[in-house]
Symmetry: C2
Subunit: 568 residues, 2 copies
C-alpha cells in the first residue's frame, strides 16, 4: 500500500491535464525570478481581458459594481474567462492551484449571466464575481485535498457554508489554491501538488498556509481570494505578496463544513478571511458574508449583524484625530530594515493627516507565543500522524528545498526551545493552558486600555500597527516563526494586513547589530541583505479589538489613504 | 492537617456570628415545611419594609425606577435594610447564604444615597438596588468559598468584572449565596455551609447549583440575584423556586475574574445570568450589563451591543403571530403531570393570543447529552480531586441526606451508564468530542430551520418551549439529571425559565405508565405522587437561538403576559 508517491503523481498529472490545451503557455526560463509580467507577455489574454484583470486588481468593488449593472457590458462569462486564463498562467509559473475546473466555473458564470438577462438585476452582492478559494473550502463533487495524499479521491458531498453563501450571493468560485501539508507552515508545499513560489521572486516563498492564494493574487490571477488563519496564514502570504487581508475574530465568518487540520481544536480557532490586491475587497467580502446571516446555518457563527456605525468609527472619534501605536520591535525578533522603513512611512503619513502616533510597548509576547504554540500541538502531533498514516506519506518536517537550500538555516527554531517536544496533553492540562491564555488576554487588554493616559484622544490607542512578519518574503525553508501574527490569533484581535512599499536596496541598508533578543533574532539579523530581497513587497499589520472587524477595515482604509496621499 | 471539619465548623460559626443579634428570629419548628410566611410572621420587618420587598418581588424595574428618582422617598439604605433583614430571615430558615456583610452593604447603600443627594441623579442603571450574588463572584476582601473548604481564608484581591460593573452602575451587592461542592450538582450542599432547602417545602431541594439564590429569591430575600449555568444551574433552581431567569449564550455577559470549578474548561462555558421573582429583572439586568460594554474589560466577552431591534422581535415578525413549538417529551425522561399541565396552559394562552403552537420533535437528545457530559468530566475528575485534596475534605458523591433519605433512589443514574467512568482524556480525544458537538449543533440548527415548512409564519419556529426539568422540586438527593437543560448549554441557545403554575393534587393526577424510555424514566415515573409536591412551583423553559438574548427576553415577556391574561 506504500503507493502514495504514485497516487500523488497521478493526481498531479490529472491536474496538469485539466489545463485546457489552448491555455498552456511557453514557460519562461527558471532563471526568470520575477514572473509577474508573464501574464501579459504570454499573450494568452486579450487586451480587454487584461483590462478586466487590471480593474479587478485595482478595485474589486468597482468590478463588482460593473458586474451588477446589466448595462455595463461586463458579463460574468467574460470576467471569469479573463481570470481563469490569468489564474492558469499564474499556476504555470508559480504552481499555485490545486483544483482546476474550467468548465464548471464557466457554466456557473453563464448561469449567473442568464439570471441577469432574465431578471435585469444581480443575484446578490457578489454577482458574477470570480472568487478563488484556499484548498479547504469544500465544493460538492470536488476533492478537498488540503495538502494530504489521503484526501485524493475523496469527493465532497456538500458545499461548505461559505460556498453555499457565495453561490447565493451570485459569486463564481473558479479555482482552489495550494496549501502546505498540515496547514501549519508559513510556507506552501505538500507531497501532492508540490511547492508554490512567490511571483515577485520564485526563489522566495509566498508564505503560507494560504500561500497558493498569495501567489495567485500577486499574479493578478484572482480579484478576491478566501484564505484561513490560525497562526498567521492569511497575514503572512498577504505581507509576502503585497496584498490586503483581514483576519476576523473567531467565528465571525462561517467556517462550518470547510475541511481543516486539527479538527475540533477550538482553543485558538482558525478563521477565514478575504485576500486581495484591492483594499475594497475587505469590506465588500466581509459585509456581504455577514449580511447573509451566517449564524442561520453555521451554529458557531457569531450572531452580530454588520455594524455600519462601527465602520464609521463611532468608537474611534468618527475617524478624526485617532491615535495609533507602532510596535517597532516585539522584543522577540527585530524587524528587518524594510519593515522599519515601512513603519516610518506610515507614521509620517498618519501624522500628516492629523493623527497621533505613539510607540507600542510589547507585553508578554514570548509568554503569549509559548502558550499558543503549546495549545496548537497539544495533541502531540496525533492529528498529523493519522492523516499521514492514512496514505503512508511521510510527515514533512522542513520546508527547505531538497536541492539548493539556502545556506543559512536555523537548526533549532525558537519555537522548539519554547514548547519542547510535542506530547499528547491531557484535557486537564489543556484547561490550565486556557486559564493561562485568558489571563494573558486580560493583561494585554488592560495594557491596551492603559494607553488612554498616553493619547490626546481621551481613548486608548485606536489600533496597534506592527509588522505581520519581521521580514519580507524569505528564501524557501526559512519562514519558521509567526511571532508577529500569533498575537492576533491568541488574543483574538481583528487584524488586517496592508502593503506599504517594496524593498529598495538603496534605502533599506543593513542596520548595525543590536543586542539580540535570542538566537533566532540573531539568525534573522544575519539573513538580511538588501540584494536578496529587491523589489519584494513590504506589508504591515493593524490590530483592532476582538470582534471589531468593521472598525479595523475602516482604519486600514484610513491608513492606506494616508500612505497613498503622502508617499510620493 | 486533617482538620477540614474544624475549619468548616469554625467558618460556619463565624457566619452565624455575622448575623446581627437584633435580626435573629425565633426559628419555626422543623416540621414547618413551607416557610415563606416566616418573613412576615417573624415581625422583624416593618410594614414599610414588607412593602418594599413586596414591590421588588413583583417588579424590580419599578423598584429601580423609584431608587433612581431622588424625590421618590426611596433610599438605597431603606431598601437595602429591608432586603438584608428578609435575606437573613431567609437564611435562618433555608440556609441559603454564604457571605454575610451587613455593615459593608449598608455603607455602600449610604454611599449611593450620598451620591444622589449631591448630584441629584443616579449613578447608573442599577442605582441603589440590592443584588445578591452566587458564591462565585469575587468581591475584594471577601472569601469566595464556593463550596470548598480549601477556599476558607482566601480573600479576593479584586472584584470580578461583573462586580466592578455592578458598582459602576450604582448597585449594592449585599449577600452571597450557597452552592454545592464542585458546582456540578442540581442541588445545593457542601461541607462548609451545609445544605440549602426549598422555601416551598424544606424537605425538597431548591435545585442547584445556584440553589442559594433560588431559596433566597423564593423567600423574597433579594429583588435580583446573579447565578451561573454550565448545565442548568440557573434554570433548575429557577424552575424549582418559581423564578424567572435567562441563561445567556457563552460570554455574552462578563465572567472574567469570577471563581469557578473546572477553570479553563471552555468547550461548554459556564455563563452568568439574572434570577428573580420579577420578570422585569431579565431585561433590566441584561441590558444594564451589556450597555456597560463588558468587552472593554473582559477579553472573552462578546462585543455585541444591546440590540433593541432584536428585543422588538424584528426577527420574529415584530412579535405578532409567532409560532412556538412545545417539547412535550424529550424521549429521555417524560415530564411529570404538572409539567404537562403547564405546557397545556401555555399552549392555550398563546393560541388565544393569536400565536401558533406546534409540537417539537426532539432530535439526538441522548447523543447531545452524552457528548456534553463526557466533555464536562474530560479531566477525569482531576479538578475536583485537587480542590478536595487541598483541604483534605472528601468529595461528595451523593446529595442524599445521611439521615432520612428518600426511599426511592437510583443506584445508577442514566448519565453514568452513558458516560462511563470518568477518565482523564487526551487533548486529541477532546478535539474529537468538539467535532462531534459541532456536528450535533449543526444537525439541531438544520432541524430547527426545517420547521419553516410547518409554520404559518414563513419562518422556522420562533422558540422552543419545554420543561427545564422533567419534574418539580424533588426530595433532597434525587435530582441527578439535567436532560432538559443540557440542550441549551451544549447548543449554546439563549434560554429562559418562567413560572407557570403550581402543583395542584386535584389536577395533577398520576398518568398511566408509558413505554419507558429507560430505567431512569421509569424511576421518575414512579416517584411522582401529587401528595409529595403540593403547591410547589411549576416552571417552563423557552429556547431561542444562540446570542439571541434580546429576543428571548421579549418572547418570555409575550408568553408570561399571555399566561397571566388567560390563567383565571
Amino acid at each position: 500500500m506504500n503507493d502514495w508517491r504514485s497516487l500523488c503523481a497521478a493526481r498531479k498529472a490529472a491536474q496538469a491535464a485539466s489545463i485546457p490545451e489552448a491555455w498552456r503557455v511557453t514557460l519562461p526560463p527558471e532563471t526568470l525570478l520575477d514572473v509577474r509580467s508573464v501574464t501579459e507577455d504570454c499573450q494568452l489574454l486579450s487586451q480587454r481581458e487584461l483590462e478586466i484583470i487590471d480593474l479587478g486588481t485595482r478595485d474589486v468593488s468597482a468590478l463588482a459594481r460593473l458586474l451588477a449593472d446589466k448595462d455595463s457590458g461586463y458579463t460574468s462569462f467574460d470576467v471569469t474567462t479573463a481570470y481563469l486564463k490569468s489564474a492558469l498562467v499564474a499556476h504555470q509559473v508559480t504552481n499555485c492551484l490545486t483544483e482546476i475546473f474550467v468548465e464548471r466555473a464557466l457554466d456557473r458564470a453563464k448561469e449567473v449571466d442568464k439570471y441577469m438577462a432574465e431578471h435585469g438585476k444581480p443575484i446578490g452582492a457578489l454577482h458574477g464575481l470570480p472568487i478563488s478559494l484556499k484548498d479547504q473550502f469544500d465544493m460538492k463533487g470536488l476533492e478537498t485535498i488540503m495538502g494530504y495524499a489521503c484526501n485524493i479521491g475523496k469527493f465532497a458531498d456538500n458545499d461548505c457554508v461559505l460556498v453555499e453563501i457565495l453561490y447565493e450571493l451570485g459569486a463564481v468560485p473558479f479555482v482552489r489554491t495550494n496549501v502546505p501539508q498540515t496547514l501549519m507552515w508559513g510556507e506552501t508545499s505538500n507531497n501532492v501538488f508540490g511547492r508554490t513560489t512567490n511571483p515577485y521572486n520564485r526563489k522566495l516563498t509566498p508564505g503560507g498556509s494560504s500561500g497558493g492564494e498569495g501567489a495567485l493574487l500577486a499574479m493578478r490571477g484572482s480579484p478576491l481570494g478566501v484564505g484561513t488563519d490560525i497562526d498567521g496564514s492569511l497575514r503572512i502570504p498577504s505581507a509576502f505578496c503585497g496584498l490586503y487581508t483581514i483576519r476576523p475574530s473567531y467565528e465571525r465568518l462561517p467556517y462550518h463544513g470547510a475541511s481543516n487540520t486539527l479538527m475540533g481544536q477550538e482553543s485558538i480557532s482558525s478563521v477565514l478571511g478575504p485576500m486581495s490586491t484591492s483594499i475594497s475587497a475587505l469590506k465588500l467580502f466581509t459585509k456581504a458574508i455577514i449580511d447573509a446571516r451566517p449564524w442561520d446555518r453555521d451554529p458557531l457563527a457569531v450572531r452580530k449583524v454588520w455594524n455600519e456605525k462601527e465602520y464609521e468609527l463611532v468608537d474611534h472619534g468618527g475617524g478624526e484625530h485617532m491615535c495609533f501605536a507602532i510596535m517597532w520591535d516585539n522584543k522577540v525578533v527585530k524587524p528587518h530594515p524594510p519593515l522599519k522603513r515601512a513603519m516610518e512611512i506610515v507614521k509620517e503619513a498618519l501624522e500628516k493627516e492629523g493623527h497621533q502616533v505613539i510607540d507600542w510597548e510589547p507585553l508578554n509576547h514570548i509568554d503569549i507565543y509559548k502558550n499558543a504554540q503549546t495549545i496548537l500541538v497539544a495533541d502531540g502531533g496525533e492529528d498529523y500522524r493519522r492523516s499521514c498514516a492514512a496514505s503512508g506519506e511521510p510527515l514533512i518536517t522542513s520546508m527547505s528545498p531538497d536541492t539548493d537550500p539556502h545556506p543559512i538555516d536555523l537548526e533549532v527554531p525558537l519555537v522548539k526551545t519554547l514548547v519542547g517536544s510535542p506530547r499528547n496533553r491531557t484535557a486537564w492540562e489543556l484547561w490550565q493552558l486556557h486559564t493561562e491564555k485568558r489571563a494573558l488576554r486580560k493583561a494585554y487588554l488592560d495594557h491596551w486600555n492603559a494607553t488612554k493616559t498616553k493619547t490626546s484622544t481621551g481613548r486608548p490607542v485606536d489600533a496597534i500597527i506592527s509588522p505581520a512578519v519581521a521580514y519580507t518574503a524569505v528564501p524557501h525553508g526559512l519562514n519558521y516563526d509567526s511571532f508577529y501574527t500569533t498575537l492576533g490569533n491568541a488574543m483574538d484581535y481583528a487584524c488586517a494586513v496592508f502593503p506599504v512599499t517594496s524593498v529598495d536596496p538603496t534605502l533599506d541598508v543593513p542596520l548595525p547589530p543590536h543586542d539580540f533578543h535570542n538566537h533566532e533574532d540573531e539568525a534573522f539579523y544575519k539573513l538580511y541583505h538588501p540584494d536578496v530581497f529587491p523589489g519584494v513587497p513590504v506589508g504591515l499589520q493593524l490590530h483592532g479589538r476582538t470582534l471589531e472587524e468593521e472598525a479595523v477595515i475602516a482604519m486600514v482604509e484610513v491608513v492606506d489613504a494616508a500612505i497613498k496621499k503622502h508617499l510620493v
